[in-house]
């Protein structure tokens, strides 16, 4: 756009970067985009609070939403995901479209009473979803 302005100073100013991304959004990203949603679980709901002393509540979170056709870096999706989209669209619709799934987790510390009455504190991996991706 700088080149155009040099050649023709009176031309309409180019669309600024901000507007451009908004402009492009309407084509690339679905309204219900794949993203992380909150879900607060209380162990008493499952009646596990008799064995789980702490924490009382826990937010595992979950991923939900549509995976757009043009994925790119926005979802941290591997190339395979785009290939799968192409297969679904052009070769074999029985091959599923990529799904919106967790991509990263954080651990959770849990304090429980064992059947023999002993008490255990343990840190479990992958208990809380923190990021979503399309795969």
């Amino acid at each position: 756009s700088r080149q155009r302005r040099n050649e023709n100073p009176k031309a309409a100013p180019a669309t600024s970067a901000g507007n451009l991304s908004e402009y492009l959004k309407q084509f690339a990203f679905p309204p219900h985009e794949c993203e992380l949603h909150s879900f607060r679980l209380s162990f008493s709901q499952l009646r596990w609070d008799r064995w789980i002393i702490a924490p009382h509540r826990y937010s595992p979170q979950f991923c939900r939403g549509d995976c757009p056709r043009a994925l790119g870096h926005r979802y941290g999706s591997p190339v395979h995901t785009m290939v799968q989209t192409l297969i679904y669209e052009r070769l074999d619709p029985s091959v599923p479209r990529p799904s919106c799934v967790p991509a990263a987790y954080s651990p959770l510390s849990v304090l429980t009473i064992e059947p023999d009455g002993s008490i255990v504190y343990k840190e479990y991996e992958d208990m809380i979803a923190t990021k979503c991706t399309c795969r």
Partner: protein, 295 residues
């Protein structure tokens, strides 16, 4: 995971997150593999396996469950608050390698009381700890005997107990009277006002047993308590008849299973940490730590 009915089955909502009225039985039902396949136990992470067994109508029904001692529960809740954030996320503490801490109360103890116990006489307690719950993938980093005392008995502000701890072992199964494999002398100082717990590091004492996957640890504790603090301002005074609550055994472990959270650094990485552990929640160290310095 092999396809099993209800677990991630696209038709039904994922059993884990949904919360029907009777979620536990839904979980139990949801986790059954079709007939003829090995029970699902091996696939479940320990947390779910433990809960899956104990559902109201768990596979084995309501297993009788012993309730832990309230003091032990208070101690572990404090350890939890110091180790995890309010949301339950493990705190990042440099040099801390344990991801599991187990507290065992003695499964029986008999106080070997002579007929008439005068002040200053030696109290003797025989303790048995059953460590069945420790899994093979949980490796011992540190073991601590956790002492507290019966505050219902009026005690002067500070007392010192001289203790002799001996480990009992049956070299061969037919042996009737266990022999003492090794023993440990130490003193414990209680300052009643300031704290409720005293931790006695017995890692080197128990390490050989736990390394050999010994599941029953039997020890005898002989102790005599006097008022005062030999290293503090008050001299040792007369004997006091104190009820030393039988200690709990605390094991700091590194669980190397897949489900457990593993911190980034290992022992050999980067700065050589002097101790594989960050100090556990403070009670006070038993002054008489036999090694003289931290294990």
């Amino acid at each position: 995971l092999p396809r099993s009915r209800g677990w991630g089955d696209s038709a039904g909502a994922p059993g884990f997150l949904a919360a029907p009225e009777d979620a536990a039985s839904q979980l139990s039902a949801g986790l059954q593999l079709p007939q003829g396949e090995a029970p699902v136990h091996g696939l479940l992470p320990p947390l779910l396996k433990a809960l899956h067994d104990r559902g109201p109508r768990g596979r084995h029904g309501e297993a009788p469950r012993l309730q832990p001692d309230s003091r032990a529960l208070r101690y572990m809740k404090r350890l939890y608050r110091m180790s995890a954030t309010r949301d339950g996320i493990p705190k990042a503490q440099r040099g801390r390698l344990y991801n599991t801490v187990r507290l065992f109360a003695p499964c029986w103890e008999c106080e070997l009381r002579p007929a008439h116990l005068g002040k200053g006489d030696v109290h003797s307690v025989d303790l048995l700890f059953n460590l069945d719950r420790v899994t093979t993938l949980e490796h011992l980093l540190k073991s601590v005997l956790l002492y507290s005392f019966d505050t219902s008995v009026p005690i002067s502000s500070s007392i010192t107990c001289m203790c002799h701890l001996s480990l009992k072992e049956n070299e061969f199964s037919s042996q009737v009277c266990p022999s003492t494999s090794h023993s440990l002398d130490f003193s414990l100082h209680f300052d009643v006002r300031k704290r409720k717990w005293v931790e006695m590091d017995v890692t080197s004492f128990l390490q050989p047993l736990i390394a050999m996957n010994r599941r029953n640890v039997r020890m005898t504790l002989n102790f005599t308590c006097l008022t005062g603090d030999p290293q503090g301002s008050t001299k040792l005074g007369n004997a006091v008849n104190v009820t030393l609550v039988p200690p709990s055994l605390l094991l700091y472990l590194n669980d190397t299973s897949e489900q457990a959270y593993h911190r980034g650094s290992s022992l050999g990485h980067g700065r050589k940490s002097s101790s594989p552990l960050v100090d556990p929640p403070r009670g006070d160290r038993g002054r008489g730590n036999p090694q003289g310095k931290r294990a």
